[in-house]
């Protein structure tokens, strides 16, 4: 699984961190998404997919 993020689309909701805190974080100053791990292990895949789904800005893209 390869994860990419679009910081320009991000609206800083933080829903991705709620879903998958090992893969996503937010910048302290403005809450914009930070990708901690672009290549998460299989056991985190379901959480990362959920993060992509609940992102209100559709700013997370996943390639299998």
């Amino acid at each position: 699984m390869k994860v990419t993020i679009d910081q320009d689309k991000c609206v800083a909701s933080g829903q991705c961190v709620v879903a998958a805190a090992d893969v996503f974080d937010q910048r302290d100053e403005d809450g914009i998404v930070v990708l901690l791990n672009p290549d998460p292990p299989a056991e985190q895949a379901a959480d990362v997919r959920h993060a992509a789904v609940v992102c209100p800005a559709l700013a997370i893209h996943i390639e299998d």
Partner: protein
């Protein structure tokens, strides 16, 4: 229940599309139809009152998925054909153009319809903002005008006021509550928002009911308040809330009461589900029927509905979340904010307009609000989750 052989999603906006996508993601291989009232492919609504209205984005940019992604969904999109009736027992949806669409499972995702004043349709220059076409039409009218009155001090009205002010219009906001979002975020933070709008130059004429519109030769000229005062306007936006779009379900036998009423599985009847703004379902943790008009709910609820359509048995118990952007303020809310809540700032500084506040009622946390502190606000979300977990689930 086994997986249905066909699913019809009525509504082609965020919740409808997310349901269709979730069904496929969960391995559903049966027939899938998405019926939309509007002519557009699924698009996102939050940018309409901000980036689309201001012109920062071209209207095309709001489309939720590119054509290629929609093709791989293997769903039939029937657009520009509103549903007009449902035979619940036969799970058949009738459309305006005369189609009769039958499916094993029907997912209702028809969203909301803006409330209007009597007679407003006959007056040029009066707008609502719900659809992409609404946003484009409003923008065109604003570009040719100088005075806007926004009727409604909720999230949508306040966002439109801020955006239109940024476009150079003279903006007045009217509505019965004393401050913008007073009904959504409580009086103290709403007061801060009132200060922000006033500082930036929006004229607030709040705390008075709106009795109607004035017009001349078919075009709006102003907004009349209950006090008799008339606020002059070239353009008026009516943002006084919206009602669930359920009139097409009248006579279906389904329970309609401020939305399509569902159980905790978002199921209105055997084989019939609801998702998004239109769905009023039983939140087991809160022990009450809840209906949420926000963007994240559309996606989150869609995942549960899709699972349940495919035979799962999951209750939907989200922590509600919404955000609003007005001028340079990003306000984010997790949980619920009762208007009589006790509000405590737990991070940042209100005077600096960068803070996080916890809302409590009867000593228990019900929600958290952040103003320009997204990460710190999200970190406090756990307090809301913990408080919800302490509640005894309803039997």
């Amino acid at each position: 229940m086994n997986a249905p052989s066909s699913v019809l999603v009525v509504g082609a906006s965020a919740a409808g599309l997310a349901t269709a996508e979730a069904l496929r993601r969960k391995g559903y291989q049966g027939g899938l139809t998405v019926l939309g009232a509007e002519p557009h492919l699924p698009y996102d609504r939050p940018p309409l009152s901000k980036q689309v209205l201001s012109g920062a984005w071209d209207p095309e940019r709001v489309q939720l998925r590119p054509q290629t992604a929609l093709s791989t969904l293997d769903a039939e999109f029937i657009l520009a054909d509103p549903a007009v009736g449902l035979d619940a027992a036969g799970r058949t949806v009738h459309t305006a153009s005369g189609r009769a669409l039958r499916a094993d499972a029907v997912v209702v995702a028809t969203g909301l319809r803006p409330r209007t004043f009597a007679g407003q349709a006959e007056l040029a220059g009066v707008h609502v903002l719900r659809t992409l076409d609404d946003a484009v039409a409003l923008r065109a009218d604003l570009l040719a005008s100088s005075r806007l009155v926004v009727v409604g001090e909720g999230v949508l009205g306040a966002e439109i006021a801020a955006t239109a002010h940024g476009m150079g219009l003279e903006v007045t906001m009217a509505g019965p509550r004393p401050a913008p979002l007073a009904g959504q975020i409580g009086p103290s933070v709403a007061g801060m928002l009132a200060d922000l709008h006033t500082e930036r130059g929006v004229r607030l004429r709040l705390g008075a009911g709106v009795s109607g519109l004035t017009g001349h030769q078919g075009r709006v000229t102003g907004v009349r308040l209950d006090t008799g005062e008339v606020l002059p306007a070239d353009v008026v936006v009516v943002a006084i809330g919206a009602d669930p779009a359920t009139e097409w379900l009248t006579g279906s036998g389904l329970r309609l009461d401020n939305g399509l009423v569902c159980d905790s599985r978002c199921r209105a009847a055997e084989g019939i589900y609801a998702v998004g703004d239109v769905a009023r379902w039983h939140h087991d943790k809160l022990g009450a029927l809840l209906r949420l008009e926000n963007r994240t709910n559309a996606s989150e609820q869609a995942g549960i509905v899709a699972a349940n359509v495919l035979g799962d048995d999951q209750p939907y118990c989200p922590v509600p979340y919404f955000w609003t952007d007005q001028f340079d303020a990003k306000i984010q809310v997790h949980g619920v904010l009762p208007v009589d809540a006790e509000v405590t700032v737990v991070d940042g500084d209100q005077a600096a307009r960068r803070f996080v506040a916890l809302y409590r009622r009867d000593g228990r946390v019900t929600g958290v609000l952040g103003w320009n502190m997204p990460k710190q606000t999200r970190l406090r979300r756990q307090d809301v989750v913990d408080a919800l977990s302490d509640l005894v689930p309803a039997p």
